[in-house]
């Protein structure tokens, strides 16, 4: 049997089995990424919406930095968070290194620019189209930003799902700040890296297939949301984004 076929069979067996270790890893991956996304979205949605509406000196530079942060490798984020949380770092006293919290913090930092940049784009487009009417009604920049973000909530929901995809599929940051400790900080991506290094390719690929299945489920969710939105509003405008593993 080829490695790929063997992996598919293993993945199927793993999925169907009630292997507690596997499902703990899957559950931990989902909860780390979901918590990180919630934190990043709480800040990124407001910041992005405000950036989409506000006009100030140096805005171009802020946007350039923001767009650059989109391309920051996850290992760099992991390294920075590691330095901050290490015993000699400014937040070392928290004792978060190699913990769930550290992984959440690293992923939140990784995802924050994604949420902010995409939200900024969505809200800026809406501001260009309708901002003047809200301004005419007496809405100031912050209120306009929040109203437009709320009005584009379906598009922003897609942004949230895209950011979740970015978080759950990264490996560098959680590996550095989590340490891939069995039963404690091991998540799907770090488990895949570990099994590959051990030479257990079928298991690594099986975990990869499960990860892909999670991302596929997210993309299906996005498609369903878009269809629902078309039915409710009779329009399908908004930012087209998908989740990539």
């Amino acid at each position: 049997m080829s490695t790929l076929t063997e992996s598919a069979v293993t993945a199927l067996q793993l999925t169907l089995s009630s292997d507690p270790v596997l499902w703990t890893i899957v559950g931990r991956s989902l909860s780390v990424s979901a918590t990180a996304c919630l934190l990043a979205c709480g800040m990124g949605l407001v910041l992005g919406a405000w950036l989409g509406v506000a006009r100030f000196v140096g805005r171009g530079a802020v946007l350039a930095v923001l767009n650059t942060l989109l391309a920051v490798p996850s290992v760099v984020v992991g390294l920075v968070v590691y330095l901050v949380l290490s015993r000699s770092g400014p937040l070392g006293s928290l004792g978060w290194l190699f913990s769930f919290k550290a992984m959440v913090l690293a992923q939140a930092i990784l995802v924050l620019p994604v949420v902010t940049a995409l939200t900024r784009q969505v809200v800026e487009d809406a501001e260009r189209a309708h901002g003047e009417q809200l301004r005419s009604m007496g809405a100031g920049p912050l209120l306009r930003a929040l109203l437009l973000a709320w009005d584009e909530r379906y598009a922003l929901l897609t942004v949230l799902l895209a950011s979740f995809g970015r978080a759950i599929s990264e490996v560098g940051a959680v590996m550095i700040v989590g340490g891939n400790i069995d039963g404690f900080t091991r998540v799907m991506t770090t488990a895949i890296a570990l099994e590959t290094s051990k030479g257990d390719l079928p298991l690594a690929l099986a975990l990869g297939i499960i990860l892909l299945a999670v991302v596929l489920a997210l993309n299906v969710l996005i498609a369903l949301l878009r269809r629902w939105r078309e039915r409710v509003d009779g329009s399908a405008s908004g930012t087209a984004v998908g989740v990539a593993a």
């Binding site: 005419s136 009604m137 007496g138 379906y154």
Partner: protein, 242 residues
Amino acid sequence: MSGLPDTPWADLRQVTVRYGRVPALEQVTLCITPGERVALVGANGSGKSTLLRVLNGLAGTQAGGLHCDATLRQAMLFQRPHMLRTSAQNNVALGLWLRGTRWRDARLQALTALQRVGLQDIAAQNARTLSGGQQQRVALARAWALRPDVLLLDEPTASLDPHAKREVEALMADFAASHGAAGPAHPVTMVFSSHNLGQVKRLASRVIYLEHGRLVADLPVHDFFNGPLPEAARLFVKGELG
């Protein structure tokens, strides 16, 4: 004293507006007194929308002086009104809420305003799913709820079918005959842009013709359609009336 019929609501002196290097308004001077129904006419790009935006405070001026009586409430309608993705009632209430009315009271007043434009039955319907004419009526209700003393309308019927046009025009006439927050002695001042000269004849008391951002003619409606006009305005009227 402000807000009196003989005191100008808006006083523009040599106002110039440019978008980058492109002039949108060139040295426009005019006065609008409360209760007037002013129609802005001219070809596309003549400066009608810019003038309305200047009057509403949405556009800044590069030169000249502008004074608008801040004691008079304003509302502005756009050619394609933006409806938030929520009910018609909430869309109307939003305008009131933005001016400081409590949300619960705003929703009640919104329902009354929707009744006034004949849309009470679709108050709970998502405003985005309404037709263009219905959306414009919701926008009128949104303006109405604010009880403005001045109503600015940027080609409010341009993108509507003939039936919806008639409905919106009737509401505009009704609006113009009412009074705003300043009281019964102060009828609503209406400034609207239009390509429809029939509508201008029916609704306006005064017509301002703009060309390339310059004010070319400023006449009572009777004189505009029956008296001598500058050549550019005469050709425009001839072209529009066929």
